[in-house]
């Protein structure tokens, strides 16, 4: 508060203007997508108004009626939730083990995991596909979940490792003296205290999986097994290009992300564990 008075008015106005410009620049495509999706398809090509109207939900109804959109949506939900579950289980186990147990060269192990990010997804996707063909997993959602996990897991382990590290071991030990086994202490004390970290990993795993296009394109052949981004792409080829439905489809893909972002704001990595321990 105090500081705001020190900044000259003109500077503040300039700052806000710059911010507004940046926001407008990033959000304009999203805004355009939203208004185009609710615009009457008849006027879609002759109206370049910034304001929508005449309104119509025709794009949505045709999209849902004429395409496999609902199937793709269900597939996406399935794959994203699968990725979240697999990532969480593995990331929690690995990062906890790495934090609490004496393992030689654990920093190196985790560092190595992060190298996965140096490769573009396509470079990973092609050899993975070859492996899945061997395993008979090609063209299955399991294949997609596994390949998404290759991306989400290293980051998840990294994040939770940092989180577990700053949880004081005393708290676990207190629980063990209080009557828990090591596993019991983990479930009753470590997990609840790590909830912000776990939530964060869950959310970004969901995001990564939900928006993935590259892996979906390589791994899945059958139309009815496609996830949303890949499915929407077939629509462009299959039917003649229809902007209204595309915009409506994109809006529906973005909707869960929007909801997630609202939650994301409420969880901060730090905070909950602080205060339990006097430093």
């Amino acid at each position: 508060m105090r500081q705001e008075f020190d900044v000259p008015l003109i500077n503040r106005i300039a700052l806000y203007a710059a911010m507004a410009l940046a926001v407008a620049y990033s959000f304009f495509p999203i805004y355009w997508m939203l208004i185009s999706s609710v615009r009457d398809p008849q006027v879609l090509y002759n109206s370049v108004d910034l304001l929508p109207g005449p309104y119509s939900i025709e794009s949505y109804t045709t999209l849902l009626a004429a395409t496999d959109f609902t199937i793709w949506f269900a597939n996406s939900v399935q794959v994203a939730l699968g990725t979240v579950v697999v990532t969480l289980i593995l990331a929690v186990l690995i990062s906890y083990a790495v934090t609490r147990l004496q393992i030689r060269g654990k920093t190196t192990i985790i560092g190595t995991m992060l190298y996965a990010y140096m490769f573009p997804p396509l470079l990973l996707a092609i050899p993975l596909y070859a492996i899945f063909v061997r395993l008979g997993l090609a063209d299955t959602h399991m294949a997609l979940i596994i390949s998404h996990t290759t991306i989400t897991l290293p980051l998840g382990v990294w994040l939770l490792w940092g989180f577990f590290k700053q949880l004081p071991p005393d708290v676990e030990e207190a629980a063990m003296v209080d009557g828990c086994s090591r596993l019991g202490a983990f479930f009753r004390v470590v997990l609840p205290l790590s909830l912000p970290g776990i939530t964060t990993v869950a959310i970004f795993s969901f995001l990564l999986s939900w928006t993935d296009y590259t892996f979906a394109l390589v791994m899945i052949d059958s139309d009815h097994k496609k996830t949303l981004p890949a499915g929407l792409e077939t629509m462009v080829g299959q039917y003649e290009l229809r902007d209204g439905e595309l915009m409506a489809g994109s809006a529906l893909i973005a909707l869960p992300l929007l909801i997630l972002f609202i939650f994301l704001n409420r969880y901060f990595i730090h905070g909950l564990a602080a205060g339990a321990v006097k430093r």
Partner: protein
Amino acid sequence: MAEVVLDTVSKFFGNTTAVDGVSLTVADGEFMVLVGPSGCGKSTTLRMIAGLESTSGGTIRIGERDVTRLQPKDRNVAMVFQNYALYAHKNVYDNLGFGLKVRGTPKPEIDERVQRAAKMLGIDNLLHRKPKQLSGGQMQRVALGRALVREPDVFLLDEPLSNLDAKMRVHMREEIGKLHAATGKSMIYVTHDQIEAMTLGDRIAVMKDGTVQQLGRPLEIYDRPVNTFVANFIGSPEMNLVEGELANGASRPTVSYQGAVLALPEGQHHRQAADNQVVLGIRPEHLAISEAAAGTIPVKVILTEQMGAQTLLACQTEKGGSLSALMSRNDTTRPGDIIHLSTEPGHIHLFDPRSGTNLFADPTAPGEGQP
């Protein structure tokens, strides 16, 4: 009934010996203090009793049970940690009741015991707060309460007061003393603060380098430290330890310090030291200002420290030896003054200059001295 018996318990961390063959019996209901400088193995000893650290050798018994290989949860001990280790995601009530809940105690009983402990500690108005909404002193009470609710065989406390400010520390020290009296349970208390050790302990184990140097009642240790380490560690300000030489005076044994000849107690036999060289120990509070006479030490006052009720004088002998003397308030002595210090024969300690052991015949040996 739960006495705690440690039989030659050791702990090695790789090449480090943290605890080296400690044998210790804590009687049922006894308040035992483990005291010693940083790194002497106090916490490790306590953690082995709790089961948080495995033993490298020896056995630990609680009551009739050999607990050496038991999990912490099966030992029926409660522990208070230095940084409290409260469950940040639970409120005070659930922190207190957690140990009972885990063990499947019925809800009404949990409630009764939590309420009782909370009242005892004066935290019954905080039961719905989360730990981060508490002050350090309040957190400390919750940590104590969590142990109290459990009604364990033994309480283990690892420097529970070290995070509190000086005033709070004195206050909580009293509270812990009262809790011990009220519960009548065995307590093992780790501290590096010798005042806490002296005031709280029924007995004290003074530790150094993973071994117990001396075990005994507080005043026993104060009066008859077994070696220079204990002499130096227990008592504040520290004991003066200077070089002296034994001699046999006309009527009684004496020790001379830089020309001053001090009488030793009669009838007390001391072991002979090589070349009659000894380390002479006199506590600052046992030195007093007196008239110049035989058997007094002439010194120059270097510094006076006024502590209110008492005055501490830092002094220097002619040959450069330093001595400190503690007396009741003294406004007249100034730095630069030449004074004479005297003591009584019974207040002189003699130590072997090489081994540091007490040369008087019957200092309490480790392992002796039952409550």
